[in-house]
Protein backbone atom coordinates (compact mmCIF):
# COMPACT_ATOMS: atom_id res chain seq x y z
CA UNK A 1 0.00 0.00 0.00
CA UNK A 2 1.61 3.19 -1.08
CA UNK A 3 1.48 6.18 1.21
CA UNK A 4 0.60 8.27 -1.85
CA UNK A 5 -2.57 6.27 -2.34
CA UNK A 6 -3.48 6.68 1.34
CA UNK A 7 -2.96 10.41 1.08
CA UNK A 8 -5.11 10.47 -2.07
CA UNK A 9 -7.94 8.77 -0.22
CA UNK A 10 -7.54 11.15 2.72
CA UNK A 11 -7.75 14.07 0.32
CA UNK A 12 -10.80 12.57 -1.37
CA UNK A 13 -12.53 12.13 1.98
CA UNK A 14 -11.67 15.69 2.97
CA UNK A 15 -13.15 16.87 -0.31
CA UNK A 16 -16.47 15.14 0.21
CA UNK A 17 -16.59 16.34 3.82
CA UNK A 18 -15.93 19.83 2.57
CA UNK A 19 -18.91 19.54 0.24
CA UNK A 20 -21.22 18.96 3.21
CA UNK A 21 -19.56 21.53 5.45
CA UNK A 22 -17.41 19.26 7.66
CA UNK A 23 -13.90 20.39 8.65
CA UNK A 24 -11.07 18.28 10.04
CA UNK A 25 -10.42 18.43 13.79
CA UNK A 26 -7.99 15.93 15.30
CA UNK A 27 -9.39 12.46 14.58
CA UNK A 28 -12.74 13.76 13.33
CA UNK A 29 -14.50 15.82 10.72
CA UNK A 30 -16.92 18.18 12.43
CA UNK A 31 -19.74 20.54 11.63
CA UNK A 32 -21.69 22.60 14.19
CA UNK A 33 -25.36 21.71 14.17
CA UNK A 34 -26.19 24.50 16.62
CA UNK A 35 -24.44 26.40 19.40
CA UNK A 36 -24.29 23.34 21.65
CA UNK A 37 -24.02 20.38 19.34
CA UNK A 38 -21.40 19.38 16.80
CA UNK A 39 -21.92 16.66 14.20
CA UNK A 40 -18.94 14.32 13.79
CA UNK A 41 -17.69 11.91 11.17
CA UNK A 42 -14.71 9.66 11.57
CA UNK A 43 -13.19 7.40 8.96
CA UNK A 44 -11.54 4.13 9.85
CA UNK A 45 -8.79 3.10 7.43
CA UNK A 46 -8.42 -0.63 6.82
CA UNK A 47 -5.11 -0.89 5.04
CA UNK A 48 -4.14 -4.53 5.32
CA UNK A 49 -7.15 -6.38 4.00
CA UNK A 50 -6.29 -6.63 0.29
CA UNK A 51 -3.21 -5.43 -1.53
CA UNK A 52 -3.89 -2.28 -3.54
CA UNK A 53 -7.14 -1.56 -1.69
CA UNK A 54 -8.06 0.76 1.14
CA UNK A 55 -11.32 0.03 2.89
CA UNK A 56 -13.02 2.85 4.71
CA UNK A 57 -15.66 2.63 7.40
CA UNK A 58 -17.57 5.63 8.68
CA UNK A 59 -18.50 6.48 12.24
CA UNK A 60 -21.35 8.97 12.57
CA UNK A 61 -21.84 10.86 15.82
CA UNK A 62 -22.55 14.06 17.70
CA UNK A 63 -20.65 15.90 20.42
CA UNK A 64 -22.65 17.87 23.00
CA UNK A 65 -20.63 20.74 24.41
CA UNK A 66 -22.40 20.82 27.78
CA UNK A 67 -22.02 17.09 28.24
CA UNK A 68 -18.38 17.03 27.20
CA UNK A 69 -17.51 19.97 29.45
CA UNK A 70 -19.02 18.18 32.42
CA UNK A 71 -17.33 14.95 31.35
CA UNK A 72 -13.93 16.68 31.29
CA UNK A 73 -14.58 18.17 34.73
CA UNK A 74 -15.67 14.87 36.29
CA UNK A 75 -12.84 12.87 34.79
CA UNK A 76 -10.32 15.58 35.71
CA UNK A 77 -8.87 15.72 32.24
CA UNK A 78 -5.88 18.04 32.22
CA UNK A 79 -6.27 18.66 28.58
CA UNK A 80 -9.81 18.09 27.29
CA UNK A 81 -9.91 16.26 23.99
CA UNK A 82 -12.57 16.65 21.40
CA UNK A 83 -14.69 13.54 20.94
CA UNK A 84 -18.22 12.56 20.07
CA UNK A 85 -20.64 11.89 22.89
CA UNK A 86 -22.13 9.12 20.80
CA UNK A 87 -20.97 7.52 17.59
CA UNK A 88 -21.96 4.50 15.57
CA UNK A 89 -20.80 2.82 12.38
CA UNK A 90 -23.03 4.11 9.61
CA UNK A 91 -23.78 0.59 8.38
CA UNK A 92 -25.92 0.07 11.50
CA UNK A 93 -27.96 3.15 10.60
CA UNK A 94 -28.65 1.82 7.13
CA UNK A 95 -31.42 -0.60 6.15
CA UNK A 96 -29.03 -3.56 6.05
CA UNK A 97 -28.09 -2.90 9.70
CA UNK A 98 -24.65 -4.35 9.20
CA UNK A 99 -21.03 -3.27 9.29
CA UNK A 100 -20.13 -1.57 6.02
CA UNK A 101 -16.92 -0.59 4.28
CA UNK A 102 -16.18 1.30 1.09
CA UNK A 103 -13.51 -0.17 -1.15
CA UNK A 104 -11.02 2.23 -2.78
CA UNK A 105 -8.73 0.74 -5.40
CA UNK A 106 -5.28 2.02 -6.13
CA UNK A 107 -4.79 3.49 -9.63
CA UNK A 108 -8.51 3.28 -10.37
CA UNK A 109 -11.25 5.85 -10.73
CA UNK A 110 -12.88 5.83 -7.29
CA UNK A 111 -15.25 8.73 -7.90
CA UNK A 112 -18.35 6.55 -7.75
CA UNK A 113 -17.20 5.15 -4.39
CA UNK A 114 -16.81 8.65 -2.98
CA UNK A 115 -20.23 9.58 -4.35
CA UNK A 116 -21.83 6.55 -2.76
CA UNK A 117 -20.16 7.22 0.56
CA UNK A 118 -21.32 10.83 0.48
CA UNK A 119 -24.83 9.76 -0.43
CA UNK A 120 -24.94 7.34 2.52
CA UNK A 121 -23.71 9.99 4.96
CA UNK A 122 -26.33 12.45 3.74
CA UNK A 123 -29.13 9.90 3.62
CA UNK A 124 -28.52 7.94 6.82
CA UNK A 125 -25.95 9.80 8.89
CA UNK A 126 -27.55 13.24 9.01
CA UNK A 127 -30.86 11.80 10.15
CA UNK A 128 -29.26 10.28 13.25
CA UNK A 129 -27.20 13.35 13.98
CA UNK A 130 -30.43 15.34 14.00
CA UNK A 131 -31.99 12.80 16.32
CA UNK A 132 -29.07 12.73 18.77
CA UNK A 133 -28.92 16.50 18.82
CA UNK A 134 -31.85 16.35 21.17
CA UNK A 135 -30.90 15.54 24.80
CA UNK A 136 -34.04 13.49 25.42
CA UNK A 137 -33.34 11.31 22.41
CA UNK A 138 -29.73 10.95 23.47
CA UNK A 139 -30.75 9.96 26.99
CA UNK A 140 -33.18 7.43 25.60
CA UNK A 141 -30.41 5.96 23.40
CA UNK A 142 -27.98 5.65 26.32
CA UNK A 143 -30.65 4.07 28.49
CA UNK A 144 -31.06 1.39 25.85
CA UNK A 145 -27.36 0.56 25.74
CA UNK A 146 -26.63 -2.60 27.70
CA UNK A 147 -24.65 -1.99 30.90
CA UNK A 148 -21.48 -3.90 30.04
CA UNK A 149 -18.36 -4.08 32.15
CA UNK A 150 -16.25 -2.08 29.77
CA UNK A 151 -18.84 0.33 28.51
CA UNK A 152 -17.27 3.48 29.81
CA UNK A 153 -19.38 5.73 27.63
CA UNK A 154 -22.69 4.49 28.94
CA UNK A 155 -21.61 4.47 32.61
CA UNK A 156 -20.26 8.01 32.37
CA UNK A 157 -22.67 9.72 30.00
CA UNK A 158 -25.86 8.37 31.49
CA UNK A 159 -25.22 9.94 34.95
CA UNK A 160 -24.21 13.19 33.24
CA UNK A 161 -27.41 13.22 31.20
CA UNK A 162 -29.49 12.55 34.32
CA UNK A 163 -27.68 15.39 36.08
CA UNK A 164 -28.34 17.79 33.21
CA UNK A 165 -31.99 16.75 33.32
CA UNK A 166 -32.06 17.55 37.03
CA UNK A 167 -32.14 13.99 38.33
CA UNK A 168 -28.80 13.49 40.06
CA UNK A 169 -30.11 10.63 42.20
CA UNK A 170 -30.79 8.54 39.14
CA UNK A 171 -27.24 9.24 38.04
CA UNK A 172 -25.86 8.10 41.38
CA UNK A 173 -27.83 4.87 41.06
CA UNK A 174 -26.26 4.23 37.63
CA UNK A 175 -22.78 4.83 39.10
CA UNK A 176 -23.40 2.52 42.05
CA UNK A 177 -24.64 -0.24 39.76
CA UNK A 178 -21.67 0.26 37.44
CA UNK A 179 -19.17 -0.09 40.29
CA UNK A 180 -20.84 -3.25 41.53
CA UNK A 181 -20.69 -4.65 38.04
CA UNK A 182 -17.05 -3.73 37.60
CA UNK A 183 -16.12 -5.68 40.71
CA UNK A 184 -17.49 -8.89 39.24
CA UNK A 185 -15.36 -11.26 37.19
CA UNK A 186 -16.07 -11.49 33.50
CA UNK A 187 -19.26 -13.32 32.76
CA UNK A 188 -18.58 -15.38 29.66
CA UNK A 189 -22.29 -15.96 29.11
CA UNK A 190 -22.69 -12.28 28.31
CA UNK A 191 -20.08 -12.49 25.56
CA UNK A 192 -20.70 -13.36 21.90
CA UNK A 193 -20.24 -17.01 21.05
CA UNK A 194 -18.52 -18.26 17.94
CA UNK A 195 -20.23 -21.49 17.14
CA UNK A 196 -18.24 -22.03 13.96
CA UNK A 197 -14.89 -21.71 15.71
CA UNK A 198 -12.72 -24.70 16.54
CA UNK A 199 -11.06 -22.82 19.34
CA UNK A 200 -11.62 -19.55 21.22
CA UNK A 201 -8.99 -18.11 23.53
CA UNK A 202 -9.97 -15.19 25.74
CA UNK A 203 -7.38 -12.89 27.26
CA UNK A 204 -8.81 -10.69 29.97
CA UNK A 205 -6.96 -7.55 31.02
CA UNK A 206 -5.84 -7.42 34.64
CA UNK A 207 -8.11 -4.40 35.17
CA UNK A 208 -11.21 -6.54 34.73
CA UNK A 209 -12.92 -7.58 37.98
CA UNK A 210 -11.88 -4.39 39.79
CA UNK A 211 -13.38 -0.94 39.95
CA UNK A 212 -11.59 1.26 37.45
CA UNK A 213 -9.66 3.89 39.48
CA UNK A 214 -10.60 6.48 36.88
CA UNK A 215 -14.23 5.64 37.37
CA UNK A 216 -13.87 5.88 41.11
CA UNK A 217 -12.58 9.43 40.64
CA UNK A 218 -15.49 10.14 38.30
CA UNK A 219 -17.95 8.86 40.92
CA UNK A 220 -16.46 10.97 43.68
CA UNK A 221 -16.59 14.10 41.55
CA UNK A 222 -20.14 13.36 40.46
CA UNK A 223 -21.21 12.90 44.06
CA UNK A 224 -19.70 16.27 44.88
CA UNK A 225 -21.65 18.12 42.19
Amino acid sequence: MSSIFKKDVEKGLSAICDKIGFKKKQYYFIKPIDDNVIATLNFGFILHKTKGHIYINVGVGVSHKAIEELYAKLTELNKPVFKPTISLQIGYLMPENSYKEWDFIENADNSSVYENLLHCIQTYGFKYQEKWKDLDNLLETFEKIAPGILNQARDRYLPILYYLKGDKQKGLKVIADAMERQKKPLDESSMPTFSGAKEVITIVGSGIGKVDPEYLKFAENYNAL
Binding site: N42, L47, G59, V81, S98, L186, F194, S195
Partner: protein
Protein backbone atom coordinates in the same frame (compact mmCIF):
# COMPACT_ATOMS: atom_id res chain seq x y z
CA UNK B 1 -25.20 -20.91 11.08
CA UNK B 2 -23.43 -20.42 7.85
CA UNK B 3 -24.69 -23.53 6.19
CA UNK B 4 -28.40 -23.68 5.84
CA UNK B 5 -28.75 -26.73 3.72
CA UNK B 6 -27.26 -30.12 3.28
CA UNK B 7 -24.19 -30.68 1.16
CA UNK B 8 -23.52 -27.10 0.23
CA UNK B 9 -19.97 -26.57 -0.88
CA UNK B 10 -18.46 -23.12 -0.63
CA UNK B 11 -15.48 -22.15 -2.66
CA UNK B 12 -13.85 -18.79 -3.04
CA UNK B 13 -15.74 -17.60 -6.02
CA UNK B 14 -18.51 -20.04 -6.41
CA UNK B 15 -21.18 -21.84 -4.47
CA UNK B 16 -22.37 -25.15 -5.74
CA UNK B 17 -25.45 -26.38 -4.05
CA UNK B 18 -26.61 -29.92 -3.88
CA UNK B 19 -29.88 -30.99 -2.35
CA UNK B 20 -30.54 -27.33 -1.82
CA UNK B 21 -33.28 -25.12 -3.02
CA UNK B 22 -33.01 -21.51 -3.98
CA UNK B 23 -34.68 -20.37 -0.75
CA UNK B 24 -32.04 -22.06 1.35
CA UNK B 25 -29.26 -20.57 -0.70
CA UNK B 26 -30.86 -17.13 -0.53
CA UNK B 27 -31.12 -17.48 3.21
CA UNK B 28 -27.45 -18.44 3.33
CA UNK B 29 -26.44 -15.32 1.49
CA UNK B 30 -28.71 -13.11 3.53
CA UNK B 31 -27.18 -14.31 6.74
CA UNK B 32 -23.56 -14.07 5.87
CA UNK B 33 -21.50 -10.96 5.77
CA UNK B 34 -19.33 -12.49 3.11
CA UNK B 35 -22.02 -12.33 0.50
CA UNK B 36 -20.15 -9.74 -1.51
CA UNK B 37 -17.27 -12.13 -2.07
CA UNK B 38 -19.31 -14.86 -3.64
CA UNK B 39 -21.74 -15.37 -6.33
CA UNK B 40 -24.10 -18.20 -6.62
CA UNK B 41 -24.03 -20.55 -9.51
CA UNK B 42 -25.76 -23.77 -10.39
CA UNK B 43 -27.67 -23.95 -7.15
CA UNK B 44 -30.63 -25.54 -8.78
CA UNK B 45 -29.57 -28.87 -10.15
CA UNK B 46 -31.23 -29.75 -13.35
CA UNK B 47 -32.48 -33.19 -14.15
CA UNK B 48 -30.95 -34.10 -17.46
CA UNK B 49 -33.69 -36.58 -18.19
CA UNK B 50 -36.31 -33.88 -18.10
CA UNK B 51 -36.59 -32.15 -21.38
CA UNK B 52 -33.94 -34.23 -22.99
CA UNK B 53 -35.74 -35.17 -26.11
CA UNK B 54 -35.45 -35.91 -29.68
CA UNK B 55 -37.59 -34.68 -32.44
CA UNK B 56 -37.54 -36.03 -35.87
CA UNK B 57 -36.12 -34.13 -38.74
CA UNK B 58 -37.96 -34.83 -41.81
CA UNK B 59 -36.27 -36.31 -44.81
CA UNK B 60 -38.93 -36.77 -47.32
CA UNK B 61 -37.91 -39.33 -49.85
CA UNK B 62 -38.38 -39.43 -53.51
CA UNK B 63 -42.08 -38.74 -53.94
CA UNK B 64 -42.21 -41.02 -56.92
CA UNK B 65 -40.91 -44.01 -55.02
CA UNK B 66 -43.14 -45.09 -52.11
CA UNK B 67 -40.46 -47.47 -50.81
CA UNK B 68 -38.24 -44.57 -50.25
CA UNK B 69 -40.69 -43.03 -47.76
CA UNK B 70 -39.01 -45.17 -45.14
CA UNK B 71 -35.88 -43.14 -45.30
CA UNK B 72 -36.59 -40.91 -42.40
CA UNK B 73 -33.97 -39.65 -40.18
CA UNK B 74 -34.00 -37.51 -37.14
CA UNK B 75 -32.19 -34.82 -35.48
CA UNK B 76 -32.08 -33.61 -31.95
CA UNK B 77 -34.40 -31.28 -30.25
CA UNK B 78 -32.63 -29.79 -27.33
CA UNK B 79 -34.59 -28.05 -24.61
CA UNK B 80 -31.30 -26.98 -23.06
CA UNK B 81 -31.12 -24.57 -25.94
CA UNK B 82 -33.52 -22.51 -23.93
CA UNK B 83 -31.95 -23.08 -20.55
CA UNK B 84 -28.26 -22.88 -21.34
CA UNK B 85 -27.23 -20.45 -18.61
CA UNK B 86 -23.87 -19.50 -20.03
CA UNK B 87 -24.50 -19.70 -23.73
CA UNK B 88 -21.24 -21.58 -24.10
CA UNK B 89 -22.97 -24.51 -25.74
CA UNK B 90 -25.12 -22.46 -28.02
CA UNK B 91 -23.02 -22.86 -31.17
CA UNK B 92 -22.04 -26.41 -30.29
CA UNK B 93 -25.69 -27.40 -30.15
CA UNK B 94 -26.23 -26.05 -33.63
CA UNK B 95 -23.12 -27.66 -35.08
CA UNK B 96 -23.88 -31.08 -33.65
CA UNK B 97 -27.44 -30.96 -34.93
CA UNK B 98 -26.40 -29.65 -38.34
CA UNK B 99 -23.68 -32.27 -38.73
CA UNK B 100 -25.92 -35.18 -37.83
CA UNK B 101 -28.79 -33.89 -39.96
CA UNK B 102 -26.54 -33.20 -42.95
CA UNK B 103 -24.83 -36.58 -42.92
CA UNK B 104 -28.05 -38.50 -42.56
CA UNK B 105 -29.80 -36.69 -45.37
CA UNK B 106 -26.76 -37.19 -47.55
CA UNK B 107 -26.91 -40.92 -46.77
CA UNK B 108 -30.63 -41.12 -47.43
CA UNK B 109 -30.27 -39.54 -50.84
CA UNK B 110 -27.26 -41.68 -51.73
CA UNK B 111 -29.20 -44.79 -50.69
CA UNK B 112 -32.14 -43.72 -52.81
CA UNK B 113 -29.90 -43.32 -55.82
CA UNK B 114 -30.54 -39.60 -56.01
CA UNK B 115 -26.83 -38.87 -56.20
CA UNK B 116 -25.76 -41.44 -58.79
CA UNK B 117 -25.75 -41.66 -62.57
CA UNK B 118 -24.58 -38.13 -63.13
CA UNK B 119 -21.36 -36.25 -63.64
CA UNK B 120 -18.91 -35.48 -60.88
CA UNK B 121 -19.84 -31.85 -60.47
CA UNK B 122 -23.56 -32.51 -60.52
CA UNK B 123 -23.11 -35.25 -57.90
CA UNK B 124 -21.05 -32.90 -55.79
CA UNK B 125 -23.60 -30.10 -56.12
CA UNK B 126 -26.59 -32.29 -55.34
CA UNK B 127 -24.68 -33.96 -52.50
CA UNK B 128 -24.00 -30.53 -51.06
CA UNK B 129 -27.67 -29.65 -51.43
CA UNK B 130 -28.68 -32.84 -49.62
CA UNK B 131 -26.19 -32.19 -46.84
CA UNK B 132 -27.18 -28.52 -46.58
CA UNK B 133 -30.89 -29.26 -46.36
CA UNK B 134 -30.27 -31.89 -43.70
CA UNK B 135 -28.00 -29.54 -41.77
CA UNK B 136 -30.57 -26.73 -41.89
CA UNK B 137 -33.30 -29.08 -40.78
CA UNK B 138 -31.16 -30.46 -37.98
CA UNK B 139 -30.46 -27.00 -36.64
CA UNK B 140 -34.06 -25.85 -36.99
CA UNK B 141 -35.18 -28.88 -35.02
CA UNK B 142 -33.63 -27.26 -31.96
CA UNK B 143 -36.12 -24.44 -32.07
CA UNK B 144 -39.41 -26.09 -31.21
CA UNK B 145 -42.54 -26.71 -33.27
CA UNK B 146 -41.94 -23.99 -35.84
CA UNK B 147 -38.44 -25.28 -36.36
CA UNK B 148 -39.64 -28.88 -36.70
CA UNK B 149 -42.12 -27.88 -39.38
CA UNK B 150 -39.70 -25.56 -41.19
CA UNK B 151 -36.94 -28.17 -41.16
CA UNK B 152 -39.34 -30.77 -42.49
CA UNK B 153 -40.36 -28.43 -45.31
CA UNK B 154 -36.76 -27.77 -46.35
CA UNK B 155 -35.76 -31.41 -46.41
CA UNK B 156 -39.03 -32.54 -47.95
CA UNK B 157 -38.80 -30.03 -50.78
CA UNK B 158 -35.08 -30.56 -51.39
CA UNK B 159 -35.29 -34.31 -51.40
CA UNK B 160 -38.25 -34.24 -53.73
CA UNK B 161 -36.19 -32.15 -56.11
CA UNK B 162 -33.18 -34.43 -55.76
CA UNK B 163 -35.47 -37.35 -56.53
CA UNK B 164 -36.49 -35.76 -59.80
CA UNK B 165 -39.68 -33.99 -58.83
CA UNK B 166 -40.62 -30.72 -60.43
CA UNK B 167 -43.13 -27.94 -59.85
CA UNK B 168 -45.98 -28.88 -57.54
CA UNK B 169 -44.39 -32.20 -56.64
CA UNK B 170 -41.59 -30.30 -54.91
CA UNK B 171 -44.14 -28.21 -53.06
CA UNK B 172 -46.04 -31.36 -52.18
CA UNK B 173 -42.84 -32.88 -50.77
CA UNK B 174 -42.31 -29.77 -48.68
CA UNK B 175 -45.90 -29.94 -47.43
CA UNK B 176 -45.49 -33.57 -46.40
CA UNK B 177 -42.29 -32.53 -44.62
CA UNK B 178 -44.16 -29.91 -42.60
CA UNK B 179 -46.78 -32.37 -41.40
CA UNK B 180 -44.46 -35.25 -40.62
CA UNK B 181 -41.88 -32.94 -39.06
CA UNK B 182 -44.40 -31.42 -36.72
CA UNK B 183 -46.00 -34.76 -35.83
CA UNK B 184 -42.66 -36.43 -35.19
CA UNK B 185 -41.37 -33.55 -33.11
CA UNK B 186 -44.47 -33.43 -30.93
CA UNK B 187 -44.57 -37.17 -30.30
CA UNK B 188 -40.81 -37.38 -29.69
CA UNK B 189 -41.01 -34.58 -27.14
CA UNK B 190 -43.95 -36.15 -25.40
CA UNK B 191 -42.31 -39.57 -25.28
CA UNK B 192 -39.03 -38.22 -23.94
CA UNK B 193 -40.64 -36.20 -21.17
CA UNK B 194 -43.06 -39.02 -20.28
CA UNK B 195 -40.27 -41.46 -19.64
CA UNK B 196 -38.27 -39.06 -17.46
CA UNK B 197 -40.08 -39.75 -14.17
CA UNK B 198 -39.41 -43.45 -14.65
CA UNK B 199 -35.68 -42.84 -14.65
CA UNK B 200 -35.35 -41.26 -11.23
CA UNK B 201 -33.49 -44.28 -9.93
CA UNK B 202 -30.73 -43.80 -12.47
CA UNK B 203 -27.98 -41.50 -11.28
CA UNK B 204 -25.89 -41.27 -14.41
CA UNK B 205 -26.81 -38.24 -16.52
CA UNK B 206 -25.25 -39.93 -19.56
CA UNK B 207 -27.36 -43.05 -19.19
CA UNK B 208 -30.49 -41.05 -18.48
CA UNK B 209 -29.88 -38.90 -21.51
CA UNK B 210 -29.25 -41.93 -23.71
CA UNK B 211 -32.41 -43.75 -22.61
CA UNK B 212 -34.55 -40.66 -22.96
CA UNK B 213 -33.02 -40.01 -26.34
CA UNK B 214 -33.69 -43.53 -27.58
CA UNK B 215 -37.31 -43.46 -26.51
CA UNK B 216 -38.03 -39.96 -27.76
CA UNK B 217 -36.20 -40.54 -31.02
CA UNK B 218 -37.87 -43.84 -31.70
CA UNK B 219 -41.36 -42.55 -30.97
CA UNK B 220 -40.86 -39.37 -32.94
CA UNK B 221 -39.19 -41.24 -35.78
CA UNK B 222 -41.98 -43.73 -36.12
CA UNK B 223 -44.65 -41.03 -36.03
CA UNK B 224 -42.94 -38.79 -38.53
CA UNK B 225 -42.17 -41.68 -40.85
CA UNK B 226 -45.65 -43.08 -40.61
CA UNK B 227 -47.28 -39.69 -41.26
CA UNK B 228 -45.08 -38.95 -44.24
CA UNK B 229 -45.54 -42.41 -45.70
CA UNK B 230 -49.29 -42.33 -45.27
CA UNK B 231 -49.63 -38.95 -46.90
CA UNK B 232 -47.50 -39.92 -49.83
CA UNK B 233 -48.82 -43.42 -50.47
CA UNK B 234 -52.17 -43.63 -48.77
CA UNK B 235 -51.18 -47.16 -47.81
CA UNK B 236 -51.01 -48.15 -44.12
CA UNK B 237 -48.65 -51.00 -44.75
CA UNK B 238 -46.17 -48.77 -46.58
CA UNK B 239 -46.64 -46.11 -43.91
CA UNK B 240 -45.86 -48.65 -41.18
CA UNK B 241 -42.67 -49.72 -42.95
CA UNK B 242 -41.71 -46.12 -43.34
CA UNK B 243 -42.41 -45.56 -39.63
CA UNK B 244 -40.34 -48.58 -38.56
CA UNK B 245 -37.41 -47.39 -40.60
CA UNK B 246 -37.73 -43.95 -39.03
CA UNK B 247 -37.97 -45.50 -35.58
CA UNK B 248 -34.65 -47.35 -35.80
CA UNK B 249 -32.90 -44.38 -37.25
CA UNK B 250 -34.38 -42.02 -34.64
CA UNK B 251 -33.45 -44.37 -31.81
CA UNK B 252 -29.86 -44.56 -32.99
CA UNK B 253 -29.46 -40.83 -33.30
CA UNK B 254 -31.36 -40.29 -30.07
CA UNK B 255 -28.98 -42.53 -28.20
CA UNK B 256 -25.95 -40.57 -29.38
CA UNK B 257 -27.51 -37.16 -28.89
CA UNK B 258 -29.03 -37.96 -25.48
CA UNK B 259 -25.78 -39.38 -24.18
CA UNK B 260 -23.97 -36.35 -25.53
CA UNK B 261 -26.24 -33.96 -23.69
CA UNK B 262 -25.95 -36.03 -20.55
CA UNK B 263 -22.21 -35.63 -20.84
CA UNK B 264 -22.62 -31.88 -21.36
CA UNK B 265 -24.83 -31.62 -18.30
CA UNK B 266 -22.36 -33.53 -16.16
CA UNK B 267 -19.46 -31.34 -17.26
CA UNK B 268 -21.36 -28.11 -16.73
CA UNK B 269 -22.46 -29.09 -13.26
CA UNK B 270 -19.26 -30.81 -12.22
CA UNK B 271 -20.95 -34.08 -11.43
CA UNK B 272 -19.81 -37.63 -12.01
CA UNK B 273 -20.75 -39.00 -15.44
CA UNK B 274 -21.80 -42.39 -14.12
CA UNK B 275 -23.08 -41.79 -10.59
CA UNK B 276 -24.55 -38.30 -10.96
CA UNK B 277 -22.96 -37.28 -7.66
CA UNK B 278 -21.05 -34.01 -7.32
CA UNK B 279 -17.36 -34.29 -7.99
CA UNK B 280 -15.01 -33.15 -5.27
CA UNK B 281 -14.47 -29.47 -5.81
CA UNK B 282 -10.96 -28.26 -5.98
CA UNK B 283 -10.76 -25.24 -3.74
CA UNK B 284 -9.11 -22.40 -5.59
CA UNK B 285 -5.91 -21.14 -4.08
CA UNK B 286 -6.40 -18.37 -1.59
CA UNK B 287 -3.66 -16.13 -0.40
CA UNK B 288 -3.15 -16.11 3.38
CA UNK B 289 -4.57 -12.58 3.30
CA UNK B 290 -7.76 -13.71 1.55
CA UNK B 291 -8.15 -16.62 3.92
CA UNK B 292 -7.67 -14.35 6.92
CA UNK B 293 -10.31 -11.93 5.65
CA UNK B 294 -12.71 -14.77 5.10
CA UNK B 295 -12.30 -15.63 8.78
CA UNK B 296 -12.82 -12.03 9.88
CA UNK B 297 -15.98 -11.77 7.80
CA UNK B 298 -17.24 -14.95 9.37
CA UNK B 299 -16.60 -13.58 12.86
CA UNK B 300 -18.43 -10.35 11.99
CA UNK B 301 -21.36 -12.36 10.74
CA UNK B 302 -21.49 -14.35 13.99
CA UNK B 303 -21.28 -11.20 16.13
CA UNK B 304 -23.99 -9.39 14.20
CA UNK B 305 -26.23 -12.45 14.22
CA UNK B 306 -26.18 -12.20 18.04
CA UNK B 307 -27.00 -8.49 18.06
CA UNK B 308 -23.46 -7.14 18.40
CA UNK B 309 -21.93 -4.34 16.37
CA UNK B 310 -18.49 -3.78 14.92
CA UNK B 311 -16.78 -0.68 16.30
CA UNK B 312 -13.73 -0.66 14.07
CA UNK B 313 -11.25 -2.85 12.16
CA UNK B 314 -7.48 -3.15 12.44
CA UNK B 315 -6.85 -1.84 15.94
CA UNK B 316 -3.20 -1.36 16.89
CA UNK B 317 -1.99 -2.21 20.40
CA UNK B 318 1.44 -1.93 21.86
CA UNK B 319 2.98 -3.84 24.72
CA UNK B 320 6.51 -3.01 25.87
CA UNK B 321 7.21 -1.34 22.54
CA UNK B 322 6.02 -4.29 20.42
CA UNK B 323 2.95 -3.67 18.28
CA UNK B 324 0.23 -5.99 17.08
CA UNK B 325 -2.77 -5.30 14.92
CA UNK B 326 -6.01 -6.85 16.15
CA UNK B 327 -8.56 -7.70 13.46
CA UNK B 328 -11.56 -5.91 14.93
CA UNK B 329 -13.29 -4.49 17.96
CA UNK B 330 -16.92 -5.22 18.62
CA UNK B 331 -19.53 -4.05 21.08
CA UNK B 332 -21.65 -6.87 22.39
CA UNK B 333 -24.13 -6.22 25.19
CA UNK B 334 -22.07 -3.22 26.17
CA UNK B 335 -18.86 -5.25 26.35
CA UNK B 336 -16.22 -3.92 24.06
CA UNK B 337 -14.20 -6.88 22.87
CA UNK B 338 -11.10 -7.05 20.73
CA UNK B 339 -11.20 -9.96 18.32
CA UNK B 340 -8.34 -11.63 16.52
CA UNK B 341 -9.30 -14.27 13.95
CA UNK B 342 -7.20 -17.16 12.72
CA UNK B 343 -8.67 -19.00 9.77
CA UNK B 344 -7.54 -22.47 8.79
CA UNK B 345 -5.31 -25.10 10.35
CA UNK B 346 -2.10 -23.46 9.20
CA UNK B 347 -2.89 -19.99 10.52
CA UNK B 348 -0.62 -19.27 13.45
CA UNK B 349 0.49 -16.27 15.48
CA UNK B 350 2.82 -13.71 14.01
CA UNK B 351 6.19 -13.17 15.70
CA UNK B 352 4.86 -10.01 17.37
CA UNK B 353 1.73 -11.77 18.57
CA UNK B 354 3.95 -14.46 20.08
CA UNK B 355 5.64 -11.72 22.09
CA UNK B 356 2.62 -9.58 22.96
CA UNK B 357 -0.07 -12.09 23.90
CA UNK B 358 1.89 -13.81 26.68
CA UNK B 359 2.64 -10.39 28.14
CA UNK B 360 -1.05 -9.53 28.07
CA UNK B 361 -1.81 -12.79 29.87
CA UNK B 362 0.77 -11.74 32.43
CA UNK B 363 -1.26 -8.58 33.07
CA UNK B 364 1.06 -6.06 31.45
CA UNK B 365 -0.93 -3.01 30.29
CA UNK B 366 -1.59 -2.46 26.63
CA UNK B 367 -1.23 0.90 24.93
CA UNK B 368 -3.81 1.73 22.23
CA UNK B 369 -2.19 3.30 19.20
CA UNK B 370 -3.45 5.09 16.11
CA UNK B 371 -6.75 6.51 14.92
CA UNK B 372 -8.47 3.14 14.66
CA UNK B 373 -8.17 2.70 18.44
CA UNK B 374 -10.16 5.89 19.06
CA UNK B 375 -13.64 4.36 18.71
CA UNK B 376 -12.65 1.70 21.27
CA UNK B 377 -11.09 3.73 24.07
CA UNK B 378 -11.74 7.33 23.05
CA UNK B 379 -9.15 9.84 21.89
CA UNK B 380 -8.01 10.62 25.42
CA UNK B 381 -6.79 7.08 25.94
CA UNK B 382 -4.64 6.84 22.81
CA UNK B 383 -1.06 6.37 23.93
CA UNK B 384 -2.15 5.76 27.53
CA UNK B 385 -1.65 2.32 29.14
CA UNK B 386 -4.74 0.39 30.12
CA UNK B 387 -5.50 -2.99 31.64
CA UNK B 388 -9.19 -2.82 30.88
CA UNK B 389 -9.80 -4.92 27.82
CA UNK B 390 -10.99 -8.30 26.62
CA UNK B 391 -9.29 -10.00 23.69
CA UNK B 392 -10.78 -13.05 22.04
CA UNK B 393 -8.66 -15.11 19.68
CA UNK B 394 -10.89 -17.19 17.46
CA UNK B 395 -9.65 -20.07 15.39
CA UNK B 396 -11.89 -21.30 12.57
Amino acid sequence: MLYQCKNITLTYNKVVGYNCNSTAIYSFFQQTAIKELYYCSNFSLYDPALGRMLSPDKYIPNPRNPQAYNRYSYCINNPLKYTDPTGEWFVIDDLIAAGIGGLINLGVNAFNGNLSGMGFWETLGKGAAAFGAGAASGTLALYGPVGWAAGGAIVGGTNAWLGGATGWDIAKGAGVGVVSGFAGGAVGTWAASSISPLLNGIGSPVLKGAITGVVGGAAGGYTGGFAGGLIMTGDFNAAHHSGMSGMWMGAGIGWAAGAGYGYKYAVENNINLWTGKPNAIETPYQTPQQKAQEGVNRAIQEIEAQGGTVLIREVTLEVNGVRVRVDLAADFNGQITLIEVKNGPSAGFTPNQNIVYPKMIDGIPIVPRGANAVPVWGPGQIGQPTTIYILKIIKY
